[in-house]
Every structure is written in structure tokens, then in C-alpha cells.
Symmetry: C2
Subunit: 376 residues, 2 copies
Amino acid sequence: MKIAKAETPRLLLDPDRLKRNIDMMASRAAALGVALRPHLKTPKSLQVAARAVPNQSAPITVSTLREAEYFAEGGYRDILCAAATTANKLAHADKIQRETGARILLVADSVAMAAAADIRAGELGATFQFLIEIDCGEHRSGVLPGSKDLMDIAAALKTASNLELAGVMTHAGHSYALNGKTALADLAEEERAAAVNSAEALRAGGHECDIVSVGSTPTVLHARHLEGVSEARAGVYLFWDLAQASRNICRLDDIAVTVLATVIGHNRANGSLVVDAGALALSKDISANAFLPDVHYGYLCDAASMKRLEGLSVHDAYQEHGIVPVPDPQWFDRLPIGAQVRILPNHTCMTCAAYDSYDILHGGEIVESWPRVNGW
Amino acid sequence: MKIAKAETPRLLLDPDRLKRNIDMMASRAAALGVALRPHLKTPKSLQVAARAVPNQSAPITVSTLREAEYFAEGGYRDILCAAATTANKLAHADKIQRETGARILLVADSVAMAAAADIRAGELGATFQFLIEIDCGEHRSGVLPGSKDLMDIAAALKTASNLELAGVMTHAGHSYALNGKTALADLAEEERAAAVNSAEALRAGGHECDIVSVGSTPTVLHARHLEGVSEARAGVYLFWDLAQASRNICRLDDIAVTVLATVIGHNRANGSLVVDAGALALSKDISANAFLPDVHYGYLCDAASMKRLEGLSVHDAYQEHGIVPVPDPQWFDRLPIGAQVRILPNHTCMTCAAYDSYDILHGGEIVESWPRVNGW
């Protein structure tokens, strides 16, 4: 189907850009000498996974058990669920492991969680492998590198009847607040050191620590080296977005997903266009604006050429209406009612979550639809 | 299932509060002497619709054609799709009308849209009924009351081969920015006058104008009278949210939906709890903060009693992590790792859109699950 005929709003995916992004990160991980464990919380799609991780025995990352279930049923065997777990999630994790044979790696950052998980695992007759989360400076979650808390959790996992320590993981999420290459390289080193020092402390304490996992897209791209690290996690590089472009982590031309929208109104008195992509179609995330304050809810592009329509962005987002002020009335002629535009996402993980599929573009036509999974 | 055993995050719905809200608005519409056309873009659920609109011949409102299709297939016969349409949506609208026999009322606010719709309707061999949208002061979309634009669109619909004029509609969405009863009553009168004056102008010009539709929850609740209006639209009253409570349109105790979440971390160094409800589970909408700046991404409540945990709200929302600063370390004892909380939504339409079902609560147990529809 030609996109000009397509009902809107809908989520378009450019497979050539996706492939370029996948190849770029694969080369980067190879150059760093680490395994790549792509974070599939961004695409949540088996078809994207088939391209990013063609070998289903290779490691992947997810952020919810629904994703873990979906990818395990799709054939993936080594799945890290990267947010700290709780006892009320373990029946689900157990079901996935039993029914698919996949290994679901869980995360803990407290003795209390490890103790509760061991009791629940015992009730379920299950065994779970855990990574201990290290706080490398974001101060969101995790324990400090090499700390007593780290050793206490490792000890709790060792004495637990139904749990095993598989390694450590850390996430430099605060890299998203930086936009300088040196600062990012320094942060990548802090992230690496936090994980490696923790792994060494565990080994010195008599624990095995096979997995030493770091990652955020910006730090993986800017790390000077990743010595001692076994694997790197990154997700947003698959599709990119304005938040990453705003920090010069990618270029606008790398962004692989866009929202196709239609001009549904001309508000000449107000000097604005109305499009049928609002808060649900775009999300209310405005994270790109910290460094690019003219993004608002997203830059507009020409639907066919993907050239940016300079000066146009969605300023207000109602549930199903997006408001696009125009700097000049000639835009009412350039974008008549019924014209289509494409809108670049602020934060691709949030935007994609409103859709249950990607429409795959080839030569201005939608040639395929790839489903994605949402929810928990 | 006891909620204490439930995997989180999940969306809970209190059916008693829902019923109270439904009864309140039904009484209000009866007192005003108008039909109620509930806006089901908020719940997007047939089970909620069955309680709010038990008579399936009665009018309903939706904001997308996927909702229209879902409710038409579920038995509803009179469906207003309240955002301006475009030609690329008409094949879908036609399919719904043909397959279900429902009437899909569409909206136009330009001659260009009416002309394009007539051509497309001709190609489809379909007939569509239209309401003309009036701008009663929000200046988002619509034509000015009684304006030449209004009369031109009516003329275009009259000369169109495949379209019919069914009436006018307006929406005082700017009522969401007000929090005073007198200001809201004044705005309700502007909304009413805009619709009624437009209907009268159309009738004076020789057009029929059966439907005179107004509405936003705040204006319907505060209107002094709705003379000349045939129907009122309102949606958020079904569930309410913090944005409405922040403007004193409802009380916190009226809010019928909450997000059940689990404490997954204690960050004692930072003085914060981590919960497993982040940006996807809550949405990034922060509209309640204009009048209640301590809401951030949502107030926390005790999971069992629904009493507010005073001083606790989600300050930062990562994809799957919510950060809750605690004013006092005693909260780490009151809310140990694994404890559940419930989070009130900022903007219920946005929060619910992340879920594919509502869990219905009765006496602390989830007794039923009601599906909802998302997307376009």
C-alpha cells in the first residue's frame, strides 16, 4: 500500500536505517571485544530481533516479563530482565523458564529481595539466576561498587536454596544527560570500572561472577575500552530518536521510526496546522527539549522525502490532536488539509509503545507489518 | 486473586466508584434536560460502556475509528467520532457502517475536508453524516460560531452527493485550564451559545441541524442551563484523575482507576523508594501539576485502604522505574521491598492507554478482568 493511501496515525519503520544501525553497533561491540546483549525494550518485536540478534542463542535484554515471555516463545534462550524483580513476578518468570527452556536472568539490589525471592522460588520449585545491580553513579537503583551491600547480597544468594549468582550489571542511564564526547568517554569508564571492580570484589570473596554487564547506548559508543566486561547492553540505537540526536549521539538521518500523520485542520486565525497525531500517537515525552528546545513533541518531515520541514514541530499534544504553529501562511498551501507528514519521535521507546505494529517502508510503500508486544 | 499476590504494574478499577461517577453524570444530564453522549475514549472498554450506556441505541462518542469499530461490533448503533476526519479514514468508517449497521458520525471543520470526503465517499459507494465543528474559544480546531466558514461548509455538505449534515458540535477543552466555579459556568455558557447560535444560523440558512452537541466534563458539570443543546459529551468523569481533582472538578476519593505497583528498591543514600511503575505504566503526562505541583507523576496511596500516603509521589519516571523520594527514613520500614502501593493517575486517558485490561477490585481481590482497546 502506498503511504499516501494509509490511514493515520501509524508507526513507520525504515528497514534500511534499522539495518545500518544494527551493523554499526555490531561493529562497535566487535571492536570493543564484548558480546552485545541488545535491549529489546525499544522494539519489542521478533522481526526486529531477528535482524538485530539472528542467533537465538545469543543474549538479549528486556525490561518486562511480558517481553521475556514473548521473546522466549519466539526462540530466544538467554534473556536478561534488567529491572529489579520482586517476589510477585517469579511465578511468571518460572512459567517462562519451564515452558520454553529459556534462561531468565533476574536482577536484585538488596538482601531483602534475594531473601523474598528464595522463599518464593522454593514455593514454586524453581531455580533462578541473578545478577546484582551496581550503581555506577546514576543513583537510581543498585548498590555501590564493591560495597558491603554487594557482598551481603552475594552471600544471601550463596546461602539461598533456589537462587544462583550469575554476575553483575550496571547501567549509566545518566549518560542521557550529557552531550560531550569526552564526558561520555569518562562516564563509560566509570560504568566499566564500577562493574569490573564489583566483579573482582566478588571473586576475591569466593564468588563466581561470569557475567559483567554494562551499557547504555551513549556509553557503549564512547567507551575507550571495555576491559574486564563480558557484555554490553544497548537498545535505543536500533531506532534512535530526537533525544539522542539532541545530544549528538546520532544524526537525524539515523532515526528509523516515524509517526505518519495527516493534516486535519488549518487554524488560520491561530497560525497553526492541526495533525491527527497527538499525545497518544507521539507520547508526552519531551526529553529532546533539554538540548533542542524547538523540538517540543517532535519535528515534522516531508512524508515522502523525509526532509525536515524546517521550523515545524508539534507544540501542543491533545489526546488525538497535534498543534503545529506555522511561521508563515505559505505553509497552508504547502500542507493542505489531507496532506501527510512524518513526525520524528522524542523518545522512541515511549512513542512506539502506543502501537501494536510497525509498518515497514520500501520505496514509499508499506510492504509488511511487524507486530510488537506491549504491557506487562 | 488477592492483590497482594498480583504481578505488577497493573491497572485496577474500583467498580463502586465507577458506578457512583456514572450515576452522578446521568443525574446531571437529566437535570439539564439533555441526552448524554459519553466519551468512551477514556475507558475504551465494552464492560465500562455496558454500565455507562446500557442502552446500545443511545449515543456514544469516541476519538478513533478503532474505538468506533470496537463499540460498533459490540452493539452500539450511534457513534460520534469526535476528531476531524480525513479522506484516508473513510474506507475504515465505511467498513464499520457496512458490517455493523451503526451510524458513524464524522466531523469536518473545512470545505476542503468536506470536498475530499465527498470524492472518497463516492469512490466507496458510501454515505456519511457529518457534524460541523465549532470553535467556542479553545482555538484548537473548528470554525467560529455563525461564521461564513460555517455556512460554506454547510453548503458544501448540501451540494455533496454522498454526505449529509447532521448538526454541530463544540468542545470547551480550555475548561481544563480553569479551576473556579463561576469561570466554568461562564465558559459553559460560551460553549452552549457557540453551538446553539451556529445551529440557528444554519437553520436560518435553510439547513437542518438535528444534533447540537457540546461538552467537556467540567462545563457539563457547571453549566447553568443547556437550552437549545440536544446532547452533552463528557468522558473523564467515568474514572476521574489528578488533573481533574487539581481543579476541584472531582475529589481524590472519586478517582476510580489506580496503578498497582511494588516497591522494588530502597535507595537510602538518595532518600528514595523505587517502584515498578515508570513512564510506561503511568505515562509522562504531568497535567495535574499546574494546580497541584506536588503531584509530579502521581500521588501514592496505601494499596489496601486507598488512603493517601501523604508526602509521597513519583518524582521521576524512567521506562519501568518510578522514583519516590521519602521525607523521612521511617518510610523504608513502612514500605519494605516487596510492599505494594497504588498510584493515582495524572491524566487517566493517558495512563489507561498503556494497558490492555482493567482488573476489577472487590474487597481487596481482583474478581474480573475487563479488556480495553488501544491504537487506531
